[in-house]
């Protein structure tokens, strides 16, 4: 029983081989047939049609990252708050308590961030 069961996977194997084969043939054909004439324009890095400025390696301000992070946390919090606000009357007071715990935990995080002085612009 097991033998014939696994034989039905033969199609998958055939498909895999066919798929890889097709890609290999297409790429090899393109390499052999296509003409190649390099110009400065063609070798330039493509940046949405605009001439690239500066180097590929550039330093970014890491402080933005912490603000972005804090923003995302409270953004997601509000995503949870809106549907909750819609139905908490029906769920009763324990829904209020649960949301209070949720907001409290996030507030603890904000207090922590404040104490660790990440909210100051340096």
């Amino acid at each position: 029983m097991a033998e014939s069961f696994y034989q039905s996977y033969g199609v998958v194997v055939a498909l895999l081989i066919g798929g890889f084969g097709l890609v290999a043939v297409a790429f090899t054909a393109a390499r052999l047939i296509a003409p190649r004439r390099q110009t400065a324009e063609k070798l330039m890095t493509y940046e949405c049609g605009i001439d690239p400025v500066g180097e590929g390696w550039s330093q970014s301000q890491i402080r933005y990252y912490i603000y972005a992070f804090l923003f995302v946390i409270f953004d997601v919090e509000s995503v949870f708050l809106f549907p909750w606000a819609n139905i908490f009357v029906r769920l009763g007071y324990q829904a209020v308590v649960e949301m209070a715990i949720f907001v409290f935990v996030l507030a603890l995080g904000l207090l922590y961030a404040y104490k660790k002085k990440v909210l100051q612009w340096v």
Binding site: F5, L91, G92, Q94, A95, V97, I101, L108, L111
Partner: protein, 508 residues
């Protein structure tokens, strides 16, 4: 009335009233609530009190872990009561002895890791309070995943433990290797999370639910094409294989284990593997049990290459942390052998293996940490030459762990290997057992090499510094406990198997 009497057992910190959807019972997640509660308090204490003593943080962490463990012991009996539900919080969290067993293993590893972590931070001069809350959050994620009864819950717990571990891996700010390890672990971990999430989406597409028992119910009644369900199985396998470090998804393991502070390595090598395998067992033996014929060959192949590649690559290592990392990969393969058996016996064997593995790997990394004196030194094999003369205690303890990792009696590693092989033979997987036995023989070479170095070679002074090889009693206790457990489970395996008889039943 029954519901009310259950609620009376809930911890006071949680809201405990009935909603329109049935009572909210928090008892089965109380250990996690304790862990997270202590973590939040420590986070605030660390931020508000600049002069906080390091010892206080460590002791509070130990108290939190001990409290969670005590509550887990209570849960062991609670889940057997006739009026206790098999799952709570709308089917999100399972309440069975399976999770209690794994929780205790993970909490034990976390306890030892806290002792080691205290010592590591003191010695390396990197005392920063975040270490303890992060460790507690990671532990909460690990224990929660063992109880997760819904794919969403598995994912959530997986992320809680992973995010904390990414940070802990990069905890040494001074060492570039630590940051690099953290980055690699983070990128590959995020990648694997994406696979896992895609698998959840497929499972939902195939069955219209993410609840594990409900998925099993839907799949067993299904006729016709199973393309979506098979896609889900494949993607979930990849996601789990990343987390348990099975070949070919193991690339991050050696770098992350080597770069991380050794105390963190000890914690994550034991905790993550136990937690991920607990979820692996539950997802594959509950939700995907109707597809057992389909996932078996994949897990079979995964087990075979993991044992071979992990075992062979460990030979070439000169750094002991890297060697143990490859050995941890090979052990994932042996545990997968038990998973492949897909029987009650297989689950039992895998659970025994995981408990034994957690004890020996946490202890082995603990000894490595004690020998590496301050931070990350003495990690080459040459530093272990003649250790028996310089420090007979550490050498003896490390010898026990090496024998156990190699699978030589009278240690837990031997019983663990025998039981997974026996389960696999019962299930008809004798070629897999053959591969396992052969790789065990190969693996014995590099474990025994460490023992030979320690006992039969002379230490050349001036080669590496040796000042004060872990004389602190904390460190000695931290490695003595796992060593004793390794021997205990090896000599009296019945103690653990007796518990497993009751714990290997997954309730659903």
């Amino acid at each position: 009335m029954l519901a009310l009497s259950i609620l009376a057992q809930a911890p006071p910190a949680t809201p405990q009233t009935a909603t329109g959807h049935g009572p909210l019972i928090f008892t089965p997640v109380a250990p996690e609530l304790i862990l997270v509660g202590v973590a939040l308090i420590l986070l605030l204490y660390d931020a508000l009190e600049p002069q906080r003593p390091h010892l206080a943080l460590a002791l509070a962490t130990l108290a939190g872990i001990a409290g969670a463990a005590a509550y887990s012991v209570y849960l062991w009996f609670w889940v057997q009561r006739p009026d206790s539900p098999s799952s709570v919080l709308q089917g999100m969290v399972a309440a069975d002895r399976f999770t209690v067993f794994f929780r205790l293993v993970i909490l034990g590893a976390a306890f030892i890791a806290t002792l080691l972590g205290y010592l590591y931070l003191e010695r390396a001069g990197e005392v920063r309070g975040e270490y303890y809350p992060l460790l507690l959050f990671a532990t909460a994620g690990m224990t929660l995943i063992t109880a997760a009864n819904d794919l969403i819950m598995v994912f959530l717990a997986l992320e809680i433990l992973s995010l904390s571990l990414y940070l802990m891996t990069g905890f040494s700010l001074r060492r570039l290797a630590s940051a690099e390890a953290s980055m690699k672990y983070f990128l590959l971990g995020a990648f694997s999370s994406a696979f896992f999430l895609y698998g959840i989406a497929f499972a939902y597409g195939a069955t219209g639910t993410t609840n594990l028992p409900a998925i099993a119910h839907k799949l067993s009644g299904q006729v016709g094409p199973l393309a979506l369900a098979l896609g889900a199985t494949g993607l979930l396998t990849v996601g789990f294989a990343f987390k348990v470090a099975a070949v070919p998804f193991h690339m991050w393991t050696p770098d992350a284990y080597q770069g991380a502070p050794t105390s963190v390595t000890a914690f994550m090598s034991a905790g993550t593997k136990v937690a991920a395998f607990a979820a692996f067992l539950r997802v594959f033996d509950v939700a995907l049990s109707p597809l057992v014929w389909d996932w078996k060959p994949f897990v079979w192949a995964l087990a075979a290459i993991t044992m071979v590649v992990g075992g062979v690559l460990a030979i070439a290592q000169t750094n002991i942390k890297r060697m143990l990392a490859y050995s941890s990969i090979a052990h994932a393969g042996f545990i997968l052998v038990g998973v492949t058996a897909a029987s009650r016996q297989g689950i039992e064997a895998s659970m025994f293996y995981l408990a034994a593995y957690a004890a020996m790997i946490v202890g082995a990394f603990g000894v490595v940490m004690l020998v590496s004196v301050r931070g990350e030194r003495n990690l080459n094999f040459s530093s272990y030459a003649g250790l028996a003369r310089r420090d007979p205690f550490l050498a003896a303890v490390l010898a026990v762990f090496m024998l156990s990792l190699a699978g030589i009696p009278p240690t837990a590693g031997f019983i663990a290997k025998v039981s997974v092989f026996e389960a696999a033979v019962q299930a008809g997987h004798w070629p897999l057992v053959l591969i396992g036995v052969l790789t065990s023989v190969i693996a014995a070479f590099y474990y025994i090499r460490v023992i030979v170095l320690m006992y039969m070679q002379e230490y050349l002074p001036g080669q590496e510094e040796t000042e004060g090889l872990g004389r602190e009693p904390v460190g000695r206790i931290a490695v003595a406990i796992p060593a004793l457990l390794t021997l205990l489970f090896g000599v009296f395996p019945g103690v653990l198997f007796g518990l497993l008889k009751a714990a290997s039943v997954i309730r659903f």
